[in-house]
Assembly symmetry: C2
DNA sequence: GCATGTTAAGTGACAATGTCACTGAAGCAG
DNA sequence: CTGCTTCAGTGACATTGTCACTTAACATGC
């Protein structure tokens, strides 16, 4: 059923069949329900994660109760932050939450070391994963340090809506995406509503004018 | 003269002698004067950098003219951002500036690949470098998203002063460290001055009361 | 139905930070 | 000494963050 899982790992660098076969021999899979903490400051895994199915939200929390989403790990991607923390042995306060039910491949550290040593394709995959996250974080820094909240919110609304017009999210959840306070989101959404770009009801937002939102988001 | 350069690369994972010897065979060194751009959006190197001597400041710029320092590369460290960008082929707008005259080891990509494949110690070194930068960036995100400017400034003043009491820096330079505007720095420094924690003159700041600054910085 | 509790959202006041358009001050070069 | 140039100070205002609330929407049990 999961015999072809490595075929999913092609996002940044595809893994050829022989490498996949080797992976299958040493890996085992785990499943976690939606909402579960995959890793966190008090829950540092000693193995490496490769996400087969589902999505993980990686976020950072402040001690004043605010959150910010750093990036999301999608099916076919690796979660290098755990790797990083294993290696660096430094404190960090990011956590990964299963945003859906997830299935992950767990690779013990020793097996990981061997694969990295012996399989060029695997090595490339891992380096690409690291690189991608570094660049994701650069983007977050840029947004937080220099971006305007209305623009960032418009971007996020569009991203969350996908091809649909409706989003099921509370103001608090949106605030936690962007690392700001609920009141700030409320204010901006009211402004969007006044300008007839969205409609709101409890826990739900309808994007009435995506082009206008896109124009706003483009003025980053 | 530089035959022992690899001995410097021990910050996160030491390189044993045989690995160092191999490195020396394939690497060449370059020097750059203080102020030079080591890499940037329009200046993506096709080799890997290991800093032998000096210091590089890696910062990100906004299109509105503000800057923020992401981290510094010290002697003995690798600059993985260039690696990341080579691999990810994504746009980014970070740049590295030589903060002092620098001497760097340049490793062609092919030689890098071979070393990573064949030398476990080198691999560990590279992974540790990646991990360290990821964690550095987590810290930056945390600071920018949740930190207070007076606390961040106090931290930076202490870090920049080292064991001395004097700092040679303009308000603009400090603003560019922290990703804020000069006026904000001026305001906060005036406050510090009023509280007799510092004294100021054109382009120079004297830390009069380091304990008080440390206490402020600790309330992060 | 209705009462009640819980969570989501709105509000106003204020503090902190960012932006703008300036003014004044310090050092430098002639 | 006289102008440049860079650095720092200032006040007004916009945006964002924080606090202490109020009001509204839904859920549950009766």
């Amino acid at each position: 059923m999961i015999a072809d899982w490595t075929e999913r790992f092609q996002g940044t660098a595809a893994l050829p069949r022989p490498v996949r076969d080797r992976l299958l021999k040493v890996a085992r899979t785990i499943e976690m329900p939606k909402g579960e903490q995959v890793f966190g400051p008090t829950n540092i895994p000693d193995s490496l994660f490769f996400l087969y199915d589902g999505r993980i939200r990686v976020s950072q929390s402040s001690d004043t109760g605010r959150d910010i989403v750093l990036y999301r790990v999608d099916a076919g991607e690796s979660c290098v932050l755990t790797t990083a923390c294993m290696l660096a042995e430094e404190a960090y306060n990011a956590e990964g939450i299963a945003e859906t039910d997830i299935t992950a491949i767990v690779l013990p550290k020793l097996a990981f070391d061997r694969l990295v040593a012996e399989e060029e394709a695997f090595r490339k995959f891992v380096f690409a994963a690291y690189s991608r996250r570094l660049i994701d974080l650069l983007r977050v820094v840029d947004d937080v340090a220099f971006g305007h909240m209305d623009v960032r919110l418009a971007e996020r609304l569009l991203a969350l809506s996908g091809d649909f017009k409706e989003i099921a999210a509370t103001h608090q959840q949106l605030a936690s995406e962007l690392g700001t306070a609920r009141e700030v989101i409320s204010r901006i959404l009211q402004d969007f509503q006044k300008r007839e770009m969205i409609a709101q009801s409890r826990g739900r937002i309808t994007l009435l004018d995506k082009p206008a939102l896109k124009e706003l988001a483009a003025s980053a």
